[in-house]
Symmetry: D4
């Protein structure tokens, strides 16, 4: 039985950020389903989605929203699953509106907030949570961490060569 | 038949701000009912409150909330009545979190936002809306405007006397 | 007799935002008149506009302004009609200057503020207010709300297909 | 004939800041008159005050206001005298609301803005302007500048003694 | 075998916020250990703590820090366990420094950030994560959610009585 | 004898903003001289410029600077002439750095600050100050004010025609 | 021959923050002199102080200032010694005004800025610079670093005991 | 023996800012080495780099990072050398996230922070520090200061000619 992540976006125009999440999850063979659900345009569907999430075998919900971003909060209010919120930069406030709307939840209704527009980190956080009871995934994450270190080692060489060319 | 304003606060600790609203409405003999409903702790009740508001003869809803203030937005999402939002200064962000969460709604779901902590102006805005079909209330608002001007005239004298004492 | 909305912009360069308002009002067959009136360049005309608004059969005033946006406030100061303010992002402050100048009004002079640049929501808020005594408009708003939900349902399918193509 | 400064405050509660201005002007024997005039509660009186200011022999207007501080702007809009604005810190925004409302005026309607709550600097700026055609005042300002330097010289000694005591 | 939460604070002066976390975890009989570890004063200990966390049977790490709050990030960098960050309001920036230092992590190193000073929500988020494989805890969380709703229902009555006394 | 305005910019790259000032002054036949003087790169020259300004028959100094904009402050510190500061938006802070560096001066050293990038309003403020003892200029400013009102009246017609075309 | 640090504060009211600096320097037997010099009230003295600093055998200058904090910048402009700036929180902007005025210097005139109100870190930074050619001081700094680690180890025990008492 | 500056960037995409630093250092014949080291992706390498810096004959470390910029802080935590931090503008926060993460360090672990994106000033600050025991470099810096003044003198002429052409 595979783990399932429910990805919800408040508007289909959020898609480019959501793709980052889906790509990371796919790489680690984690199943997910993606939906467009607006807390503002259809509160009842957001409510149903969240309150039935456990019985639909979701383990984690990731919510993307900009502006007065209520989506993650409304989902977290109606499930006891962990909910990850991705605030999006969609207005002249540079994402501060979405960030504060997602983050500043009252006691008892936490949203695990990641950086503005950071769809990738929503996926990486989900993978860490899922790895708690998935030794294979845990191993893959550890390997990934090592690979990243290795790749970084080559960057110093690359940068030094760039400077040699320039100077 | 009296107009009815539905006042909703996200937490009973918001009461001191709500009192300002109730005092203004009472002065103008506008009926109101006050409720504590949390969009985060009981989304369904917020949904029911909003979606049944017209049939319960509410004309206007005023919502008070701090932090990630979703209350006004969730109510506005589930009624077509005008919803007035009062963002409250309850955290280290000086009310910016509640302001942006209340104000930055997507097209189609407007919240008529008033100043941070300004329970009084929520009432004054409700009175203006109600006065559109209430000539008596309209007359009272015009009188109030004149009275305020008169009172202000006396302030200049008061301030000049304060200075005479001081200097 | 039709309802009339008075739309006022501080500068003709605000026109692109105002168009959003006019389009929504036109769709619902609500009459409106549009004017360019600057609180800074002609305070007296702003005063006359506001103080004669009721007798000219206006029901609601919508004011657009950027920078130190005094327009909505000056209009609200000189009428007892509901005034809706649309702060515009016209400077390096991302609309914060216009927002705070519009929103933070003293007790007794409320401005119903909507999101930065959100001409559409000014119209939607006006429609909600006008619907209080217009059963036909009320019905149209309810239908619109349902239609929006239906349209949103199709977006999930669209997004899933986009992902299928991509992956 | 003495120069006259018109001091206007939006509310009598602004008095403590205004006192700083009056004390400085008094020290330099510059005549002034103080008034409480609200751009929001009585736009017409603000208009009359500004448009008759030249004929009432005012040379400079200093305006104090907090929140959505329209006062300086409305006065500047209706006179061609120089208008100095003092934004006041009266809300949870730490004076940013009053600052931006006072400062960000459109081309042609300048407000000479001084620091938040800085009633003293409004007076000092007025003195500099008045000194352009008042050689005696100019001389006094130059002397004041020298005196301030002298006083500062003693502060180093004072601070060194404080440290000697402490250590 | 019980789940274990590792609570880490950057300074013992953060204790009052950490207590909120410990109280919630204790109520739900979740084991935890608390440590004072500074990413700035002893990076190696932070490194050891994080990199040995899995083998010490920790499931989740909660990190509290103010100012340039690197603690959660450094821990997240050296483990693949989920790390929850609690930014603290300890300077004149109202917690914005700690929030941005905790939240804005690069891709691959997520920190699940909760609201400023919100030790309670760090615990609630940990409980949600742990409940994924703990049916008993899941049941308790669902009951808690229901209890909270019930308690809220009584608040409306309380607030109405407060108003009756006042008016 | 003509009035003289000293225009100082911190860097020649500020020229595009300064042009706005010069154009307005030229229109009203006010003499000015323009200089590039950096408070940071040549404090002594800034000092000399300011302390000799009166004897060089300057009446007003206008200073343009971005970043940590010390120029207006250093000039104001070394003259008793009125100094007008124009904060420029030259960094990722949208002009907030220049604004606060220009505005928040200590008591006794006022800078008459105008809006960010608002070279035009620096000129208009200078004209108002100069008009105090220049009846001809005063008359021109009053005429300009009237002309602006007239022009604005035509804008309403223009905007209505734009809408007629569009709809 | 001892190293000498020149400590400069813009106002004697900054003394409480400066004491932190002096205490740290004294602990490490580094000579310093403290002065009150205002870039705004006596630019020439600031100029003289900075331009003669090398010949007076100063190695480092530490400057404290609040508001539009030009002091560090003016000193850095007139010496080639390293200048450390300490922005102070003295207004309603929470130190942002002083921070940006100190930090955002143009290329060529760097100010080594430390945290708001952080007089202690100004001293610690000076010690690091001085240690480059002072092996004894270098050794002391290394020891201090070890001592701090040791002390921190005891804090975990302390916090655990606090919790045992409480629960 | 030449002085050596260690330049560290958190990501190779920071290279364009780092180039500014390297160009300035090269002009003054100061040796440097450049590396890509991420505090988040390889804490141990950051630790090793910092703790071995003195024995590798580094005198100063310059660290570039954006987002939650921990790099300068982690390096400063593990060496007693002076560390200069350059916060980068890489997100929708305009560099505020990197600035606060770099600047607001706890007592004892200072980071000498320069302006956002100001790689040049990091180099200039390093040169000032190195000049303390390098009379030749000191002389070059003094000459540079004079040259800059001379070049600035020509800018006034240039700007006046631009205006003559335009008008």
């Amino acid at each position: 039985m595979s783990n399932i992540v429910g990805i919800v976006m408040g508007s289909d125009s959020d898609y480019p950020y959501v793709v980052e999440t889906m790509k990371v999850l796919k790489r680690f063979h984690v199943s997910f389903e993606v939906s467009v659900i607006s807390a503002h345009r259809d509160t009842q569907r957001a409510f149903s989605y969240a309150s039935s999430a456990r019985e639909r075998n979701l383990d984690i919900i990731i919510a993307f929203a900009g502006m007065a971003a209520h989506l993650a909060g409304v989902l977290a209010s109606n499930t006891t699953l962990p909910v990850i919120g991705v605030p999006l930069d969609r207005t002249s406030f540079g994402g501060r509106d979405a960030l504060l709307s997602t983050l500043q939840m009252p006691p008892g209704i936490p949203v695990a907030t990641v950086g503005v527009d950071s769809g990738a980190n929503a996926a990486w956080l989900a993978l860490r949570i899922l790895s708690l009871h998935n030794p294979e995934l845990q191993k893959q994450l550890e390997e990934e961490k090592e690979n990243t270190k290795q790749k970084l080692l080559e960057k110093t060489q690359k940068v030094r060569e760039m400077w040699d060319h320039e100077s």
